[in-house]
Subunit: 257 residues, 2 copies
């Protein structure tokens, strides 16, 4: 029995993490289309049909071109987006884009206050219930605003576009203090949120971006389907289009429950 | 000892698959830049700088727009690319893009013959050495041409562009017969190759594409770093940009050894 005990001690943790990987896949990505939401001053997604239908040679063929800003729809902010010398999209280590993750749900507060800022107290409240956020986690924030996508008026606070619309943006975000706390105390790999920006809509200094990106921590924005995730016990795989020298780019992000 | 044996019988396979997941990550993706290789008639990747540098408000900010054809650089062909009614990029089930994979190395033959077609015999030769390709595998083909990327003359057979350059394309590919054999006999999820197309450069009927895509089997093209993979015992995660109604799109593809 002693031998058995030792074998189990070695094998059970491996078996446990394997069960996670073999679990349900959840797509946390909004599709790109003309409905995709972009920053009010950014170029929007546009698909141009090049071919569609039977060819002279008898086979079917369809193909498209597209154009877009890097920062729209479900996308990544690479550190260089807000930090001189930060990693560009192609430089972010894969190890920082894949790993155990937690979800912090602040939707009770944020849905009542579109200018809500996620605080250090929100992080500590989560830990009081769920235990400490493990070192190197990916931290996803559910504000509840994801359910409004792609309704610009509800999701962004305005359906207007252009420079004058920036002041009319109202959606929740992460405070710079909470961002710094997570980096210093929990060495997080990355953050994600179900709004258009990790900073709240009324931000003018983008302090959460700066806090994260100067420490080479990327952010996932316009993340979908966070309501389908538990508070913990899942993994995230977030693979951006590999744009050389990119400041961000389209992101396919999934969870494994 | 009988009890121990039963425990090990249950736990060892789980431990084995877990070891895989905790292994080395290999990026199988070429970066997108003005050097990226595209089909000779397709729109190429173009990055346009929108902002770069310190702002008036004291923080650094960089952002870009880009435009591209769906089919260039490391990308996916969605089934609808060559099959009416086939899945579009956003419709491909995640389960078909993630899974155990094998690598079939035909570079000895293909590097000597740029018009080489991978045959059913090549598949059977691989199985004779490595065992049967498991049902539901992702199958990657290493022709050796990956090492030429992004040198168009060597990789595509021509550095010319435009309709007249199509006849000058010379690079290896998968035969339609081998594609059909893999679908019928091994129920594969997807295929990938380190050339510009799953059909060889001299193809005029794109028969491998048609064989695969009419069965909703996607193809990964311009895959990088296949020389860093073993013949088997690794997993692939291939996450395309989620383009609604897309016929393909930029793909971030990685392996876990």
């Amino acid at each position: 029995m002693k031998k058995l005990f030792i074998y189990l001690l070695i094998l059970l943790p491996l078996a446990g993490s394997s069960q996670q990987r073999n679990g349900e896949l959840v797509d946390l990505t909004h599709s790109f289309s003309q409905e995709s939401l972009y920053w009010v001053t950014a170029k929007q997604f546009k698909l141009e049909e090049v071919a569609k239908g039977e060819t002279e040679k008898g086979y079917y063929y369809s193909a498209n071109n597209f154009e877009t800003a890097e920062h729209g729809g479900t996308h990544i902010d690479a550190p260089i987006h807000f930090a001189a010398g930060g990693q560009s999209t192609d430089e972010i280590p894969l190890e920082n884009l894949i790993g155990d993750a937690v979800k912090i749900d602040v939707s009770d507060k944020a849905l009542k206050d579109p200018d809500y800022l996620i605080s250090i107290a929100d992080l500590k409240d989560w830990e009081a219930v769920n235990g400490e956020i493990a070192t190197g986690s990916i931290v996803l924030f559910q504000t509840g605003f994801g359910k409004y996508y792609p309704d610009a008026k509800k999701y962004l606070g305005t359906e207007e576009r252009g420079p004058d619309a920036v002041a009319k943006l109202h959606f929740p975000g992460l405070s710079a203090e909470a961002a710094s706390w997570l980096i210093e105390n929990r060495k997080i790999k990355a953050v994600g949120i179900d709004t258009a920006s990790i900073d709240y809509g009324q931000s003018t200094d983008f302090a959460a971006h700066v806090a994260l990106m100067t420490q080479n921590v990327p952010a996932f924005e316009n993340v979908a389907n966070l309501d389908r995730l538990p508070a913990k016990g899942f993994r995230v795989i977030a693979l951006p289009m590999k744009i050389k020298d990119g400041s961000g780019g389209p992101l396919r992000i999934i969870a494994i429950k």
